[in-house]
Amino acid sequence: MADGQLDTLSAEVIQVIAETQRLPADSVTLDSTFEQLKIDSLDGINIVFALENSFRIEIPDDAVRNMRSVRDAVAGVSRLLSEAPVQPGEP
């Protein structure tokens, strides 16, 4: 995935996390850990749910357990998007 796309993706993931946590968007960075953002297990479930809705992906439970930072979330979403089946008609 090109840098530009990753940046867009990062921005979108950050926006979803910020909105779900009711945080100002500029307080969430790629380097923020969930611990720093005071994201606990319940918040995590909400964030994963919001990411699934935003990106139309299904995040498996095992992936959720290993997600500890915004960077983890971006990487996880990016991986799931790249694994998504190619729709008929797409190149």
Binding site: D40, L42, I45, V48, D61
Partner: protein, 403 residues
């Protein structure tokens, strides 16, 4: 203070429709967690559950009554009938006024509520079935039992999620012990296999895709179960005077609230409930030989509970035989306390501890003496049965066998 005898037991769950069937499968280590009868469309992420597959309402209720009672109310009524029958009690005259019914359920009746919403939001029909309210109310089971047996004493329902029926038994115990009532029917039930509710559990990401494996290093979450259980708690002298068979004794009860987090388990809250229960029972930690753990099979619960047990019992933890019968009858939520109290009483009575099914690799992080493989013979006088609810509400019962 009066001693409190158990003079009747009734059980319905995945392992059977009565206590005999339940006992047979429980001590054989026979898991009742099976592929879901209705796997969902699209399929639920978890494919298994501990449904009560042979429970047919029409075996227990006529057509009209079967339609009037939601499944959770049917379970608790059938369990109460078995328990009362065993006790041999009749609630005529003053005893009817001096008998309590306290049931626990986390959620009450959800099937008719869901059906109402389906009509309203899916079919666009604003006319919801007229008996939706009395069918769904959490006290529907307790009220039915009162009507059926003519019991006119204190009757109510406790809703504290997964601690509901332990709280119910604890309150009933206190009422019999203090002399407020002579007899109490106590326990609870839950019927969780309703689509909307299963979707909500799925979204929580705590349900295992396979049968749960409490205290195993490979555990991946809980397995949902349904059912109900009821105990007849009776003033000891009253029971002796009428020559009743006493199945066991409730010695004490402890409760606490974590004041910590909505769903994360809390070691100190769990330990407090166990410590209060021991103190209430007048029992030393050294006297406890068995614990039927809350043991849901989630990473967080089992680790915290194991540490809490060690906090309470110290080095003595190593000789306490720990099981989680949820590995066979599933996590029955509001019914868990009642069904597991029955399992604990049976273990004491039979001098045999049922195993944790599927716990092939006990988690070394959970430093407990877990019973795995098959049931283990053990002559034990005093046992604990734990429940810890979402919302941080903990309840622990101390039970004893007949000397």
């Amino acid at each position: 203070m009066n001693r409190v005898a158990v003079t009747g037991i009734g059980t319905v769950c995945a392992l059977g429709n009565n206590t005999g069937e339940f006992s047979r499968r429980l001590f054989a280590g026979d898991c009742g967690i099976q592929p879901l009868i209705d796997p969902g469309d699209p399929p639920y992420k978890f494919r298994v559950g501990a449904e009560a597959p042979t429970f047919n309402p029409h075996d227990h209720f006529d057509e009209k009554d079967a339609g009037l009672l939601e499944r959770f109310a049917q379970f608790v009524t059938v369990a109460a009938r078995e328990a009362v029958k065993e006790s041999g009690l009749r609630f005529e005259g003053e005893l009817g006024d001096r008998t309590a019914i306290i049931t626990g359920t986390g959620i009450g009746g959800k099937a008719s509520e869901q059906e109402g919403y389906r009509r309203l939001y899916q079919a666009g029909d604003p006319r919801v079935a007229p008996l939706t309210i009395p069918k769904t109310m959490t006290n529907a089971g307790a009220s039915r039992i009162s009507l059926e047996f003519g019991i006119q004493g204190p009757t109510y329902t406790v809703a504290t999620a997964c601690s509901s029926s332990n709280h119910a038994i604890g309150q009933a115990f206190s009422m019999v012990r203090s002399g407020t009532v002579t007899v109490a029917l106590a326990g609870g039930s839950e019927a969780v296999f309703v689509d909307g509710l299963l979707r909500a559990w799925e979204a929580m990401r705590v349900v295992s895709s396979e049968p749960c494996r409490p205290f195993s290093s490979t555990r991946r979450g809980l397995s949902l179960g349904e059912g109900g259980a009821m105990l007849v708690l009776e003033n000891w002298e009253h029971a002796r005077a009428r020559g009743a068979t006493i199945r066991g004794e409730v010695l004490g009860f402890g409760m606490s609230s974590d004041a910590h987090h909505l769903t994360q388990p809390c070691l100190s809250g769990m330990a407090k409930a166990m410590n209060w229960a021991l103190r209430d029972a007048g029992v030393n930690p050294e006297q406890v030989g068995h614990i039927n753990a809350h043991g849901t099979g989630t990473q967080a619960n089992d680790a915290a509970e194991a540490n809490a047990i060690r906090t309470v019992f110290g080095d003595g933890t190593d000789r306490i035989l720990v099981t989680s019968t949820k590995s066979m009858h599933g996590h029955t939520l509001g019914a868990a306390g009642a069904i597991e109290a029955v399992a604990t009483l049976l273990a004491l009575e039979r001098s045999e501890i049922p195993p944790i099914a599927h716990c092939d690799a006990p988690d070394p992080e959970c430093k407990l003496n877990v019973v795995t493989g098959q049931s283990r013979p053990a002559r034990i006088q005093v046992a604990l049965s734990n429940t810890f609810a979402f919302g941080g509400l903990n309840a622990s019962l101390v039970l004893a066998c007949m000397p």
